[in-house]
């Protein structure tokens, strides 16, 4: 079966972002960009499905600037067969991204779409669920285990109190959680090979999708800073402070 994996280019998770002085956003100039960690897990899961003989073709897609080709090449080096870039210089909201992905789903007709559960920049946790709604597909969000059985998919999900397992009719949407797998690193020969794999580019207009939005960001601020407190000299002093000063234990 064909698997579509959606990935996002985001600031590398090791970078401490800084808010711009004019409060218009965070400063991303000369900052290291990477594939969103949850998207790496999505690519890895697709590659494992192919290694098991379940997936026959892996198509990786991203919605983003021209530079997001780097993340597509990374996914190709990890084992995706071909790539689709929907080029948009504007930062799009999740609904617009989901609509663009729906257009790609319509073209590609995958049996399974795997996405990260959220991107570590906007922290929305929306796109997979929205794509499922627009496509009329079932959704297995926050997945920690995915098993394909005939025309159905068994997904074990991370929920607040533990794990939930659901059976979904294919085609379906899966979003990844941390425990699903541990992504591999791309080998140098595979990175070289990835350069020759096909990469198609579309614009939102060419896909006939409006990216209009019903929300806008008015400003972005740094969170209230936490100042260092005091050093206590002993466990006894710590307990005394927690009981009588902070009053957080009895």
């Amino acid at each position: 079966m064909k698997v579509l994996v959606a990935v996002k280019r985001v600031v590398d998770y090791n970078v401490k972002v800084r808010v711009k002085a004019d409060n218009s956003g965070v400063d991303l100039a000369n900052v290291k960009m990477s594939m969103n960690p949850f998207c790496e897990i999505a690519v890895e899961e697709a590659v494992r499905l192919k290694e098991k003989g379940v997936a026959t073709e892996i198509v990786v897609v991203t919605i983003g600037p021209a530079t997001a080709q780097e993340q597509l090449r990374t996914a190709l080096a990890l084992g995706a067969d071909r790539a689709v870039l929907v080029e948009s210089a504007d930062e799009l909201n999740s609904l617009a991204v989901a609509k663009l992905l729906k257009a790609v789903v319509d073209k590609e007709q995958p049996q399974l779409v795997i996405l990260g559960k959220q991107a570590i920049d906007s922290d929305n946790n929306q796109t997979g669920q929205m794509l499922a709604a627009l496509s009329g597909y079932a959704q297995g969000t926050f997945a920690s285990k995915v098993e394909v059985a005939g025309d159905s998919l068994k997904v074990t999900r991370e929920i607040d109190g533990g794990l939930q397992t659901v059976a979904l009719k294919l085609p379906a949407i899966v979003t990844t959680d941390l425990r699903l797998n541990e992504p591999r690193y791309a080998s140098l020969p595979n990175i070289m090979k990835a350069k020759k794999k096909p990469l198609e580019t579309f614009t939102p207009d060419a896909l006939g999708v409006s990216t209009a939005s019903t929300s806008k960001t008015l400003k972005v601020e740094a969170p209230a800073a936490r100042s260092a407190g005091i050093k206590v000299k002993s466990v006894a002093e710590l307990v005394e402070k927690l009981k009588n000063e902070a009053k957080v234990i009895q």
Binding site: V11, Y13, N14, K16, V17, V19, V26, P37, N93, S94, L95, A98, I120, N124, N125, Q126, G128, Q129, A132, A133, G136, A138, Q139, T141, F142, E158, D160, G161, G162, L163, Q164, T165, V166, A167, L168, K169, A172, L178, R179, T214, S215, K216, T217, L218, V220, A222, P223, R226, A228, G229, I230, K231, V232, V235, A236, L238, V239, L242, A246, V248
Partner: protein, 309 residues
């Protein structure tokens, strides 16, 4: 202006996060209705009717809504939601699962995990794992919003007397089914809901040493978390991870034990009310955010702390 709040419930009881979500609705202003969807949820609806400030409870009692399958619940919420100015749900795993599906069906953006209400259409929410706070304005006809429980003080569970009204709409998409559930058997509270969290880092040296933290946690009624370093080293499973790629917590008291304080860990716990750091390295960055720092060998300090609390 009327606001629909989606109740979170389990085993016949209203989950606490529902009360924080009603509090957010009260800040927006207007009448508050609560939707209880599920199977055999008459009792839950009666409990919901007592929540302070709630004007009406809608109850959709149908087998299709058991286990909150989003393929069935989202069309129900979208259908009902059309008549409201706002649809709010707690940002629990369930709310996060269902609500974006509702937003897409209504063709509006969702505003995720708000931590404050600035006005009826403007909200604050953390982005970049809390390293920045965005102020977002919605022009949607129905504003679809998830609420981070730690941002709002819960309303009283008692004191209201709302009318209860049955909703007959039954949506069974036939796309998904519930197979099973494996809930953590621990008597300790759930990490993101706990009032006290004790977390261990690489300084714990191995998984077995976490028993010292479990003993302390049990004495305090606390949940136990871990840094990514401790998870990557294989000491504990990934579902205990607190940080940008793990769980975001904001308890009353966070005790970081043997944790250096990498940015990605701080992102998951820096909104805690009081932070305690215990580390033998006095230069560790965790001390820069800790209210109370103790430079000590954790293997001596933790047993002593357990005795004294």
């Amino acid at each position: 202006m009327t606001i629909l709040v989606i109740a979170e419930h389990e085993n016949g009881a209203i989950a606490p996060a529902t009360l924080n979500t009603v509090a957010a609705a009260a800040k927006i202003g207007g009448d508050i209705h609560v939707l209880v969807a599920g199977q055999g949820v008459g009792g839950v609806a009666e409990t919901a009717a007592k929540i302070a400030g709630v004007a009406k409870v809608l109850v959709a009692d149908n087998a299709a809504y058991a286990h909150q399958l989003p393929e069935n619940v989202a069309p129900l919420v979208a259908e009902l939601g059309k008549g409201y100015s706002h649809v709010l749900a707690p940002a629990t795993s369930n709310g996060k699962n269902v609500l974006p599906r509702v937003a897409a069906l209504l063709d509006v953006d969702q505003i995720s995990e708000i931590i404050s209400v600035e006005s009826a259409d403007t909200f604050k929410r953390p982005i970049y794992a809390g390293n920045a706070i965005a102020t977002v304005q919605s022009s949607a006809s129905v504003k679809v919003i998830t609420v981070r429980a730690t941002g709002f003080d819960a309303v009283a569970a008692e004191g209201g007397s709302a009318a209860v009204e049955a909703v007959s709409a039954a949506h069974d998409a036939g796309l998904s089914s519930f197979v099973g559930e494996e809930l953590a058997k621990s008597d300790r509270p759930e990490l993101t809901a706990a009032k006290i969290v004790v977390s261990g880092g690489r300084g714990m040296q191995n998984g077995d040493n976490f028993k010292h933290l479990y003993a302390l946690a049990d004495k305090l009624g606390a949940a136990v978390g871990a840094s990514r370093a401790a998870v990557d080293a294989g000491f504990v499973p990934n579902d205990m991870q607190v940080g940008q790629t793990g769980k975001i917590v904001a308890p009353q008291l966070y005790i970081a034990v043997g944790i250096s304080g990498a940015i990605q860990h701080l992102a998951g716990m820096k909104d805690s009310k009081v932070i305690v750091a215990i580390n033998k390295d006095e230069e560790a960055p965790i001390f820069q955010v800790a209210d109370y720092g103790l430079v000590a060998d954790l293997f001596e300090a933790i047993p002593e702390l357990e005795k004294l609390v």
